[in-house]
Amino acid sequence: MAEAPESAVDADTPADEVAPVPAERLHGALVVRVGDEVVLHAERSDLVQLVTKLRADGFWQCIDLFGVDYLTHPGRSHLPAEVTPERFEVVVSLLNHNESRRVRIRVQVPEDDPTVPTLFKLHPGTEAMEREAYDLFGIVFTDHPDMTRILLPDEWSGHPLRKDYSVGRIPVQFKQGSTER
């Protein structure tokens, strides 16, 4: 995983200006190459189909799935012009062992309808990851077998990794212990 040997650090030139090849598509998803990484931009409705096709291509393992909240950074420049930016993003990272390749799928999720179809049926390992994204971002994965909080207590209110959830100003919420056994 050697980085491109660029000697100078230049804050004016973003690293991803290297080669955004336009209009390259894989299974209908827009392909952007950032250094040695391959990023696919998929529509929310096409996600399951895309992951199914990629799985048939040998991307057998879903390494990671998580959310990002772009509330305070809406006009990110590393997004191609064809993609409409939304507040949330769900990022899925897939691994192909035979060819030793990775792809990362970025899905835009609107604020007023933060739902994404679950990948549980294709990659059961996403169960905990999707629960984490739900817990910390409030993104709901439809048809997920157990869409509950995973890291925080069940009765916690709010989703801490959202950008409008500030640090250090939330009173500690304790769970009421049961008094009888």
Binding site: D10, P14, A15, D64, V68, S100, G125, E127
Partner: protein, 430 residues
Amino acid sequence: MTVTDSKADTAKLDAALEHLTADHSVLRLSETEAERRSGYQADSERMIMNMGPQHPSTHGVLRLVLELEGEIVTRSKPVIGYLHTGMEKTGEELTYAQGCTNVTRMDYASPLFNELAFSLATEKLLGIEVPERAQWIRMLMCEMNRLGSHLLFMATNGMDLGAVSMMLYGWREREEVLRFLEMVTGLRMNHNYIRPGGVAADLPDGWRDSVIKILETLPHRLAEFDTLLTGQPIWRERLQGVGVITAEECLALGTTGPILRSTGFAWDLRRDQPYLRYDDVEFDVVVGTYGDCFDRYAIRLAEIHESIRIVWQILEKMPTGDYRIQDKKVTPPPRARIDESMEALIHHFKIFTEGFKVPEGEAYAAVESPRGELGCYIVSDGSAKPYRMHIRGPSFVNLQTLPHLMRDSLIADTVAIVSSVDPIMGEVDR
């Protein structure tokens, strides 16, 4: 002990998927429901029981909700979050220079790997490559840390299964490794040694002798482990055939590291997607055959031997040169310059208060930690703090294998199984 690339085939993979998604080994109960049904129920053959969160074998605070039929575990669910401290949120509040102090506390048994993943992701965004010596120092430190982490596993795995003397031996050996890490970084754990741009300090005088001393004593000690555990009938009885998993199930569940390799699937990022200078050293990716607790134990023991092999090569090949990049935007000035130059003082002050700005973009870097793929994903908005910092903790994902490993096993075996997965709860909950 050979590198055989047995890759899974699609038909088996689909079968595993069907079985895992339809599987009834995961107990999906809400907390209130579990509480209501806990204990003996007169109208049911099955009993819900809580194991943990405080149990010596849970390596921290892992709670297992088990559904039992007599002494057999039918379904189970790991309940986590007891150590959740919002480290990803904290990461957004710290500059890149401070970030390592945060991530290093996630997987506290192998802190240097967290720092490495974070630094690699930051360096990817910056578009810099650290000097040759820094790469080799990072490799040396990580492999030493891997020794420490696996030795800790040997200790706790032995203790969990009743070989209590193993705890002392494992801890004794690990202490030697920690002493070396302390000598180099100043701290036994949570080093904050690997930083974006290189490492915090050059190796101190006498480091080579300390490493050689460890490398020379360890093989003898490992031979004792073999006598005490590997060849011992009771030990094999407790582990062989317990908690079996197949390669296809591992792939579907996102499992990496020794658990995946124990099934015979040779996948190690050090070899398959090399980072640092792993291209220049020789080592074997050790795989198992049966995917049971014994294979997971044996693989970790063998990986200690492989790490020793790697470190010998590092000692031979360690180059001279800079231990951090000489790029004024990232690297603070040398300590001596601060006393004599006003500019150096300002420069130092700026880097440690404001931090350095990282170009806008996103990057993911992954390393092979002792527990599997440890990844770091950073989104930068062009400021001095990460806009989003996500850590892919191998323990968090690996923990999902527990219900499948435990299905239809004895309650006494759950301890062996949890131990063989080797979860570090700090990383699971973050």
